[in-house]
Every structure is written in C-alpha cells, then in structure tokens.
C-alpha cells in the first residue's frame, strides 16, 4: 500500500508527553491494528490506530527524533499513512476480561476496551504510568470498566507496578482473557502471571519494523513476524517463543539482547 497523505483534523493533548492526532482518513481499523506513519524526509514508524472509521487516529508519545518532529505538527498539516496492518485482538468470546496497560501501552487497549464495553464484557483495567498526569486515556478507560491505577512515583493510584495489581486480581478472579500492552519486561511478567493462574492472555508486542507486511523479516520474534502474525500474540504462541523478553533485531538484522536493542533505539 502506497502511503496516503492524511490531513491532521485535530490534535488532542492526552498527557504532558502524549498527543492524539485525528486524521482526515477513513479506515476500518480493528483494535490492535497499526499503521506506518511517514514524515517525508524524516522517517516512517509504526503506531497503533487508536480510532477507526472517520475517527481514525494515532496516539504518540514524545520520545525521540521522530516523535519530536510529530509534535511540531499543527492541525491542518499532513502525514503519510500506510495501513491498517497486522492482526488485532481476538475478543470474540470474552465475557470477563482484564486489560493491563503500561505507559503508552494504553494506546492499543483503548479501542479494545470501548469495544468490549459495547459488548457488555465485564472489564477490569490496570493502568500504569511513570506519574499521575501521564496516565493515558484514564477518563475514557474508566468508562469501560473498573479501573486500577499504578504510578512509579505514587502520585496517583497505587505506587508500584501494574503487575502487582494484576496478580491480586488473578488471585481473586477468573478472566477469559488478559489483554496487555506495555514495556516488554512488564509483558513478560504479565505472561508469567497468566500462566501461573491459568489465564489466557493476548499481548501486543513491539519490534523495529520496515515493510510492515511480512516480507522483510525485520520484526521477527523467532519464526513469528510482529507486523503480520501480530502485533497481538496469544498464549499458545507466546509459550513457544524463545526470543520474547530476551532478544530483538537491530536494523542490520543482528539479533541482540533487549538491553542492547533499547540502547540502539536511544541513539
């Protein structure tokens, strides 16, 4: 798919570091699908679609070079979009579910939560962030179920990790599915907990991407391609993954530890 230039209809400041860009572009994006966002002469990066139909949007956290440039954009400017890509969440049968979001990980989970709410799914949401005002989509998520907030600095909700809350919830309750997105170390812990308590989970994973359509092999986790087979993976797949939580590929296709990968991302 050739990138289509989409006008930015509206920019919403979600938290001090996170903005949602509403696009003049119709898609049929499903929760968990993503698009490649292109800034001509800068770069092209994957972002979860946080809205669909004529509400199509991406939600971006200012981090490095690319997202800084994104934050210079005003309403009326355009960005290139290829997508939607990937397989989203599979939430057909869920009746009783839990969502665990770390930081910007709330992005793919918002559309999912709103979809689950429409279907009257009984939903618990664990939302974690560095600090209180960085809790992404707090208000909208609140409307979809029972919310538990954790922050690193304790400025809002419970001080500590989302996974501690998840553990307590799993001890009390049986979920049809636990949906998670956030830093990979958090997701590793989410998976371990789900396995321990016998809960199915679906995790939205992240790798550096090039083609986004499953041919370049850049986003591999073992034999899985995050762009095409994911970005959402189920317990059955995750159980077999040897690289999950451990390795990722640099742009050269060199496989390195997640630490080394994160250092490279900071360059």
């Amino acid at each position: 798919m050739t990138p289509k230039m989409a006008r930015i209809k509206k920019i919403a400041q979600e938290t001090p570091s996170i903005r949602t860009f509403y696009l003049d572009l119709e898609t049929d994006a499903k929760p968990g699908q993503f698009a490649m966002a292109w800034l001509p002469r800068v770069d092209e990066k994957p972002f979860t679609l946080t809205g669909t139909g004529n509400e199509t949007a991406i939600t971006v956290q200012e981090k490095g070079k690319f997202t800084k440039k994104m934050f210079e954009l005003k309403e009326g400017n355009s960005i290139g979009i290829r997508g939607p890509f990937g397989k989203g969440f599979d939430f057909g049968g869920a009746k009783n579910a839990c969502i665990v979001a770390g930081g910007c990980g709330a992005a793919p989970l918002l559309m999912l939560a709103e979809e689950l709410k429409k279907r009257d799914v009984n939903l618990k949401i664990v939302l974690g962030a560095r600090t209180g005002n960085e809790c992404l989509f707090k208000e909208r998520l609140k409307n979809t179920g029972e919310i538990y907030i954790t922050t690193d600095d304790g400025s809002l909700g419970e001080k500590g990790f989302t996974t501690s809350v998840l553990e307590r919830l799993l001890e009390k309750e049986k979920f049809d599915c636990v949906f998670g997105c956030g830093p990979e170390p958090m997701l590793v812990r989410v998976f371990e907990l789900c396995e321990k308590f016998g809960a199915e989970c679906q995790l939205n994973l992240e790798r550096f991407m090039k083609c986004a359509t499953g041919i370049c092999g850049q986003c591999a986790i073992d034999e899985w391609l995050v762009c095409k087979d994911g970005p959402v993976f189920k317990s059955t797949q995750i159980r077999k993954m040897r690289d999950f939580g451990k390795f990722a590929m640099l742009k050269s296709a060199k496989k390195v530890s997640l630490q080394e990968y994160a250092q490279w991302r900071q360059k």
Partner: protein, 301 residues
C-alpha cells in the same frame, strides 16, 4: 512431479525463497521451508554490519513492490548462531553474499564457504565502490572478475551469479560469468524505479530510488531469462514477479530451471510456495507434463 535439481543439489520442488525476503533469521528460513519452499536463500551477507537505509524502505505501489532496504546485514562475522540454527533447515540453504569490491567479496565468500551452504549466490547487482559506483553486474569485466574470485573462494560449493536487469546486455554478462566459473545464473534482481507522493511532493522511499519487484517486473524477468538461456549452458534461477503457478511456468518455459519468489510472499502470504507448487501440478496435469524439468526452455522450441 516437481522434484528437480539445481547445480546438482536436489530440490523437492523448484520454488526458492529469494534473497532479502524473510531471510534475516534461521527461524524464518525454516518457516519458509515448512511452507513449501524447495530451497531458501539467506538475506545477502556483507563484509560487516550495515544498517541499510532509513524508512520508508519498502512499500507496495499499484503494480508491485519497491524497496531500498540498502543491503542491511549483520555481517558474516556475527552469524554463528544463524548457521547453527540452520542445521535444522529441511531444505537446501543458499547463502547470498555481496561486497563493495572484489576483496570484500572474497572475504565474505571464504568465510561463508566455511559454513558449507548448499549453494553460494553472489549478488553482483550492487554498486562497485571502486569503479565509481557503477554496478558490477552492468560491466562485463567487473562481473567476470568478481565471479572468478568468488569461485576460487567457495571451491566445490556451486556458485550462482545474480544479475541485474539494468545491464543493457545481460546475456553477455551471463556468458562472462559462466566463463569465469559460475555454476548457475540468477535473474533478475530488482528494476530501478522511484515513486513520488504528489501530496507530500517527495519520493516515498527515504533513499528516493529503489528496486521494483513483483507483478510489474515479470516481463522483464522473462526477457532476461530468455536471452540468458540462449547464451549459456549453465542453469538459470528465474526470479521476478512470481506469485502463481502460471507465473512460475512462464519463467521456466523461458529457460529457468528453478524459480525464486520474493514479493510473492507479500502478495500471497508465506505459503505462496505451497500455492505455487499445487498450481503448477494442476497445470501440468491438465497439459500433459509429467516432470517439471520438461518445462525448462520449451518456449524456445
């Protein structure tokens, strides 16, 4: 009915995963094999780690793909784990290599040869830094020089020379490669092109220019294979625009003994190999062919 051999290497079927597609890891190569590929090619290996170009590096345009990945490679030194894991690959493994000059080609070839891949493929479609950035594969002497050097370096391992359709005289290049010791020819690599997004008023690829592949380039591949078939005796690995059994048969009728599939993975999914094979079998049954080898070059008769 699809069993064949290429450079004396036995293949369960003539489809081959082309270089640069999925070939970044042993696990993905094995997955392609499990999805029906008769052989798989590792993404071109260079002399040292190389990031390649910035994104966008690959996208689909109206009639195919365009890419400027830029020969990203972890470099031959860092591949022990890949080679180790590839021991489990159920089909022959082709190692594609490149270098910016003859010395680099030799260095990579010697080291890759130690891992005993079934076949080595020299990608001479990349710019030659010594000859003012001209592409090796556009120049007869440069092509011959690389191939004879690489052949010495790989010894007994069969060597494929992968050519670019940018050469105005691809059959001459193929002949020179054959004379220089190549055991087979691979044709074609991508066709140079560019796509501009007129609203962005910029080329889409960050590197601006890129290589076209997929449906639009199939007739270019057929023409190159045809010319090479008439010029050389060594077998041809036909690549370019194959995503169906009919496409594969067209390239074989032009003269290819085996068929590389790259962009077809994008257009039909990773099981494109299985699909192409079963479509080939169906067509062969309907048209009275018992073995795929009978197809090779018959359009020349």
């Amino acid at each position: 009915m699809l069993e064949t051999e290429f450079c004396k290497v036995k293949l369960g079927n003539p489809t081959v995963l082309a270089s640069g597609i999925l070939g970044t890891s042993a696990e993905l190569l094995i997955r392609a094999a499990e999805n029906g590929a008769g052989a798989v090619t590792i993404k071109s290996i260079g002399p040292r780690e190389r990031e390649g170009h910035n994104n966008p590096t690959i996208f689909e345009w109206e009639h195919g793909l365009i890419n400027a990945v830029g020969l990203s490679s972890e470099g031959y030194k860092e591949m022990e784990d890949v080679w180790e894991a590839l021991k489990k690959c159920p089909v022959p493994v082709i190692a594609s290599i490149y270098g910016a000059n003859v010395q680099e080609f030799i260095e990579v070839a010697e080291n890759v040869a130690k891992q005993k891949p079934a076949i080595v493929e020299a990608n001479i479609s990349c710019p030659n830094s010594e000859k003012h950035g001209q592409v090796f594969g556009c120049n007869i002497d440069a092509s011959a020089e690389v191939i004879s050097a690489v052949k010495k370096a790989v010894g007994e391992i069969p060597l494929i020379a992968k050519l670019t359709p940018q050469a105005p005289n691809i059959a001459e290049i193929a002949k020179a490669c054959e004379a220089a010791g190549a055991d087979a020819i691979c044709a074609i690599n991508t066709v140079a092109g560019m796509v501009i997004n007129i609203e962005a008023r910029k080329p889409v690829l960050h590197f601006k220019k890129g290589g076209l592949s997929g449906p639009a380039v199939k007739p270019v591949a057929v023409k190159c294979i045809w010319e090479i078939y008439e010029a050389v005796k060594i077998p041809i690995l036909g690549v370019g625009g194959v995503s169906s059994g009919r496409d594969a048969i067209e390239l074989m009728q032009a003269g290819a003994s085996a068929i590389g599939i790259g962009s077809g993975v994008h257009f039909k999914g990773i099981d494109v190999f299985k699909k192409v094979c079963s479509e080939m079998e169906e067509w062969m049954n309907e048209n009275g062919f018992a073995n795929v080898k009978e197809l090779v070059g018959i359009a020349h008769e």
